[in-house]
């Protein structure tokens, strides 16, 4: 198993009483809530944390993309990744972004990813997403075109990487006379492609298709859902006539590890609850604009008793396995159990979340790197690490 340090770079200095006046930390929350002097400090702190992950021996660092919100200050992830590309030496850099349908010209992604891949000598992992629903409000892109634009942009970018240019690209949304991307990817034929998703059978069918075999990354979901979607990927692969490797399956989850279970829970509680109830807060209409999900999936959401907008606690997310928290032994045991049962090969841990301050983030990273990762590398995950 490979270990990654993922950062959402929240605006941790957010006035948490904002929700007395606004119903979301996204899109409609005025940016007067953002103080650039505090933001400057946070950006540099977060970049330091990402660089520290390289020193601590993580296999990779992950940055992502969201727009117009206090939840994550990384609207242009190539800036974050660019800053990391020279200051880190060993880690893979996964950009999870880019939200392809938001772009009028997806070739910008082909270009920024190949620049990163060349600068780092092949340490780039290319993430392709549709973005969350709020992005379509933020950027004005029609969510009814989200799926169509995603697939077309994906085809354009992967062809730009793997075919000799110039060639003419003819699509419904994009049409280019000359596709001739310079630089070409350092990794041949192309960088690894990861597809983060909150769980979608359509996405799994597509990612597992034999010409792609992309790594499917399940983000922030109950562990029961994780198991279901990972099994779905394996079943789909089997239907295509091959066995999915653990390299094709990843999980992204917030983790907090401290000296004891009791200390971990006490230290993490306010910060994970702020993450859930303050930073993730948005109405359903913002999260799920029309067309973002298929009508069938939307029906499921409308019928499910939705947790969107309802208050969550550390206990509710720990119970569901959406947050792993405890002593090194507890965290090792849980991760080992899930890994053995579910069989993912990439574990992306969010070791800073919500308002978790710098010193606790560092402590979390250090204990996780020293007392969890080595055990899992040697133990349950060793066969994957050797095989990957």
């Amino acid at each position: 198993m490979k270990f990654y340090f993922m950062h959402l770079m929240p605006y941790a200095d957010l006035d948490l009483d904002y929700d007395k006046d606004y119903n979301s930390a996204w899109i409609t929350l005025p940016n007067s809530y953002y103080d650039p002097k505090k933001g400057h400090v946070l950006y540099n702190r977060y970049l330091d944390e990402l660089e520290y992950a390289d020193q601590l021996g993580f296999d990779g660092v992950c940055v992502n993309e969201h727009h117009q919100n206090a939840y994550g200050l990384m609207p242009i992830p190539a800036v974050t990744a660019g800053a990391l590309s020279r200051r880190t030496k060993n880690v893979k850099i996964a950009v999870l972004g880019r939200a392809l349908p938001l772009l009028n010209n997806p070739l910008v992604v082909a270009e920024e990813f190949t620049m990163l891949d060349n600068i780092t000598g092949g340490r780039l992992i290319a993430g392709f997403v549709r973005g969350i629903g709020a992005e379509y409000h933020a950027w004005g892109v029609n969510p009814a075109e989200s799926h169509g634009r995603f697939h077309e942009a994906h085809d354009l970018i992967t062809r730009a990487w793997t075919e000799t240019g110039p060639f003419h690209f003819e699509g419904k949304y994009y049409d280019f006379e000359y596709v001739n991307t310079w630089p070409r990817p350092y990794q041949q034929p192309r960088p690894p492609i990861w597809i983060p998703s909150q769980g979608s059978s359509e996405t799994i069918e597509w990612a597992a298709e034999p010409s792609r075999k992309y790594t499917y990354l399940q983000t922030f979901t109950p562990v029961a859902m994780l198991a279901k979607y990972m099994q779905m990927y394996k079943d789909v692969a089997e239907g295509y006539g091959y066995e999915a490797s653990e390299d094709q399956l990843g999980w992204s989850v917030p983790v907090y590890v401290a000296e004891t279970d009791e200390i971990a829970r006490r230290e993490a509680k306010p910060h994970i609850e702020n993450f859930l109830n303050k930073f993730l807060r948005m109405p359903k209409e913002m999260l799920l604009p029309p067309g973002y999900l298929s009508l069938k999936s939307m029906m499921g959401v409308m019928k499910a008793k939705s947790s969107i907008g309802s208050q969550q606690t550390i206990d509710s997310v720990m119970e569901k396995g959406m947050f792993i928290c405890g002593s090194p032994a507890t965290v090792r045991e849980k991760l080992e159990q899930y890994q053995t049962e579910i069989g993912f090969g990439h574990l992306l841990t969010l070791l800073q979340f919500g308002t978790l301050p710098a010193e606790l983030t560092r402590k979390n990273m250090e204990i996780y790197a020293k007392e969890v990762i080595p055990y899992l590398r040697e133990g349950a995950g060793a066969k994957i690490a050797a095989g990957a």
Binding site: G140, N142, P283, E285
Partner: protein, 260 residues
């Protein structure tokens, strides 16, 4: 007047219609919420006219055709509908997005039209007069914002919604987004060609419309030659529902004046 319900395949799209009454054709183009039921104003108008109420491609029980990308596609579709039924001297009545479709149709070809009646249509932009973000409204806010008299909203909100109706709500919302998300509820080219509409036009607006501001009425009246702009007092976005009797009277009067 009894009405019939049927489907027709037009431009490859299986389309649901309600049709009742006799006389001059009156083609009603619905707004973002579709046209699932035969409403009292339709019944009243069918006493004088051949009232034809389609559900747009992508809405309600009509199919979602591959070709549907934008509002212009619906305009051409309804030109096909007029040809399909061999209609002439059509009184084309459009509510909200249906009114936008009606204008797009009329700038393309209005030779089959006798009159054009527009209820609170979007379709153009007035800089500075920002339309509210209907896509951020919750289902309840949407219903409440449609009406000035909240007893209408209470009535709608009290109705249970079954799965089939919920699916229609989601489908209508999806197609509305497809047509109107970006640019938001207008077509930058429409305003340039509204002067081509030669059909007598009546523009109607509820004075308390919270969906599309009444300020758009006079602007449209200035762009469509000879158009008359009128309002309903104490009325929201759906005058044909909230002021049904007055609406039917005004629409009928206009059609008769035009015919004279």
């Amino acid at each position: 007047m009894p009405f019939r319900e049927f489907t027709e395949i037009i431009a490859g799209c299986n389309t649901r219609f309600m049709r009742g009454g006799s006389g001059q054709p009156l083609l009603f183009l619905h707004g973002a919420n579709g046209a699932a039921t035969w409403l009292p104003f339709m019944e009243a108008l069918s006493g004088r006219y051949d009232v034809i109420v389609p559900e747009h491609p992508g809405f309600g029980a009509s199919d979602m055709p591959e070709w549907l990308d934008n509002i212009g596609d619906l305009a051409f579709f309804y030109l096909d509908v007029i040809d399909h039924f061999g209609l002439s001297d059509v009184n084309l009545v459009g509510q909200s997005i249906g009114g936008w479709v009606a204008m797009e149709l009329a700038v393309r070809n209005d030779t089959s039209l006798a009159s054009l009646i527009l209820n609170a249509p979007p379709g153009i932009r007035i800089p500075g007069l920002r339309k509210p973000d209907i896509f951020l409204w919750s289902p309840e806010e949407t219903v409440r914002n449609l009406f000035h008299d909240q007893s209408f909203a209470e009535h709608v909100l009290a109705q249970p919604i079954d799965d089939a109706q919920q699916m229609v709500i989601l489908k209508n919302r999806l197609t509305t987004a497809k047509l109107a998300w970006q640019p938001r509820l207008y077509d930058p080219d429409l305003e340039k060609w509204l002067h081509r509409i030669a059909t007598p036009t009546l523009i109607l607006w509820g004075e308390q419309d919270k969906v599309i501001q009444p300020g758009y009425g006079p602007k449209l009246a200035g762009l469509i030659p000879g158009a008359i702009s009128e309002t309903f007092a104490d009325c929201g976005h759906l005058p044909q529902v909230e002021k049904a009797d007055e609406y039917v009277a005004r629409v009928s009067r206009f059609i008769e004046e035009v015919a004279r």
